[in-house]
């Protein structure tokens, strides 16, 4: 075995490594700012009180998760098209980050539902059920990656799961809304227009969480590049 560790320590030019570091530091500051804004600046909701502030974590996490799964879909399609290892790596790391933010979305949503709806979980809400199924599908996606033979097979199989899963989730959403229309409807609060303090807080949180997702994808991608190189070196 050759001494691989010393030959390929870094995969990035110093300028790009600096860019990653700066993005991570900026994002840490943004996350602190978002937390401070949510606690001190945004007013408490007139109906829900302080609990409503989970909103500033919940909604950005949902957007970040959907964005990450869109990347998984795109990466999978590109990989089936031209077998680019970079597309496969990107899909792989985006699935992990998407699953992380889906978990945040589910947990924060449940904690929010408890005081407002009186229960952690309801089955009549299409968003809850489709998010749970979303989580299960991409957990399966990561299991396929683990179990299939690494390389071409894992890439293809995972791409198929990522694409079919992406089609399935809106259909789950639709079937639960259809199912709900034949069940007694349950009152839900309709959000009114947000005051400017809330909008600012939401905007900063959104930026902070989305940048966090991007930074995580970037760092995980670098690790995967190193892993793939190491595997190639060991094969040689």
């Amino acid at each position: 075995m050759t001494d691989v560790a010393s030959t390929h320590v870094s995969t990035l030019s110093p300028a790009r490594a600096d860019l990653f570091r700066i993005a991570a530091i900026v994002d840490a500051l943004l996350l602190l700012a978002a937390a401070a804004l949510a606690v001190f600046h945004a007013p408490a909701d007139t109906v829900q009180g302080v609990v409503q502030k989970i909103f500033y974590l919940h909604v950005p996490s949902a957007i970040a998760a959907y964005a990450a799964f869109a990347v998984v879909l795109a990466g999978g399609l590109v990989f089936l098209w031209n077998e680019s290892p970079a597309a496969d790596r990107l899909a792989r790391v985006a699935a992990e980050v998407g699953l992380l933010f889906t978990t945040v979305m589910l947990v924060s949503g449940s904690l929010w539902a408890r005081p407002i709806w009186g229960t952690y979980w309801v089955w009549w809400d299409p968003r809850l059920v489709s998010t749970l199924v979303l989580w299960l599908i991409y957990a399966g996606y990561l299991l396929v990656r683990r179990i299939a033979t690494p390389g071409r097979q894992a890439g293809r199989f995972a791409a198929v799961v990522g694409i079919v899963g992406f089609i399935d989730v809106p259909i789950v959403h639709f079937s639960v809304s259809w199912w709900r229309t034949i069940h007694p409807p349950v009152e839900t609060a309709t959000p009114e227009a947000l005051p400017p303090e809330m909008l600012l807080t939401l905007g900063v949180s959104m930026l902070a969480v989305l940048l966090l997702a991007a930074v995580l994808v970037g760092y995980r991608y670098r690790v995967e590049v190193l892993k793939d190189r190491l595997a190639a070196e060991l094969d040689r």
């Binding site: 089936l80 059920v129 199924v133 299960l136 599908i137 957990a139 399966g140 299991l143 396929v144 179990i147 299939a148 033979t149 071409r152 097979q153 293809r156 199989f157 791409a159 198929v160 799961v161 694409i163 079919v164 899963g165 089609i167 399935d168 259909i171 789950v172 639709f174 079937s175 639960v176 259809w178 199912w179 034949i182």
Partner: protein, 220 residues
């Protein structure tokens, strides 16, 4: 050879293998009766038998489906007979469609045992056209998705682990709408036509998607 002729030939081959070996169907029939036995003692059937029957039916169908669909590709792998099949110039999607069709028919045969057994143990109607329509429509789409993931899982190690984890979440639309249709067919309120039409839509969508995706799964 045209798509349909290849699919029919593959389906005929699979069904003939099943009829000669008589492996999967007897096992599935026993599985169904055992599932009902467990359900009978797990639920409080004395007071709520009619209420739990649709749920018992769905649990049994989904898990029997996992067994049936898992077998279609696992048996090919055990005998290393999938590669020669794929070496023929026939389209991968047609081969896949034929295998899914055979697997769907095996599950339908299992349901032919399940429905009377449910009627016997849970006092549900045995000859119900509504129930049959709901079950067959759900089975078609579930077979499309189930066989896609069975083909995928059979080519990996730990294949028995992978199939339920992949297939069950993707079957949720069928469970939601088909579950409702079965509740109506077994005496619940509501209209059946909407549910059956939706099931048919899901069938068309997922059979097409699975056949297209099969090209990439049946590749190596």
């Amino acid at each position: 050879m045209s798509f349909l002729r290849v699919a029919a030939a593959v389906a005929r081959k699979d069904l003939r293998t099943e009829l000669r070996s008589r492996e999967t169907l007897p096992a599935l029939g026993q599985f169904v009766v055992l599932a009902l036995l467990i359900a009978n003692f797990g639920f409080d059937v004395e007071t709520g038998g009619a209420k739990v029957a649709p749920g018992v039916l769905w649990l049994t169908v989904t898990f029997a489906g996992l067994v049936a669909f898992g077998r279609t590709f696992a048996s090919e792998r055990d005998q290393a007979s999938l590669e020669p099949l794929l070496l023929t110039p026939a389209s991968r999607s047609a081969i896949f469609a034929g295998k899914a069709l055979a697997a769907a028919l095996v599950l339908v045969a299992c349901e032919v045992v399940l429905v009377p057994a449910l009627g016997l143990f849970f006092n549900t109607p045995v000859f119900s056209l509504e129930l049959a329509a709901a079950l067959v429509l759900a089975t078609i789409g579930m077979a499309g998705l189930g066989c896609l993931f069975a083909a995928l899982a059979a080519q990996t190690r730990a294949r028995d682990l992978l199939l339920p984890v992949l297939a069950l979440p993707l079957w949720v639309p069928f469970v939601v709408v088909g579950g409702r249709a079965v509740q109506v067919a077994l005496g619940g309120g509501g209209s059946l036509n909407g549910a059956l039409a939706l099931l048919l839509d899901f069938d068309i969508l997922f059979v097409v998607v699975a056949s297209l995706a099969a090209k990439f799964v049946l590749d190596d």
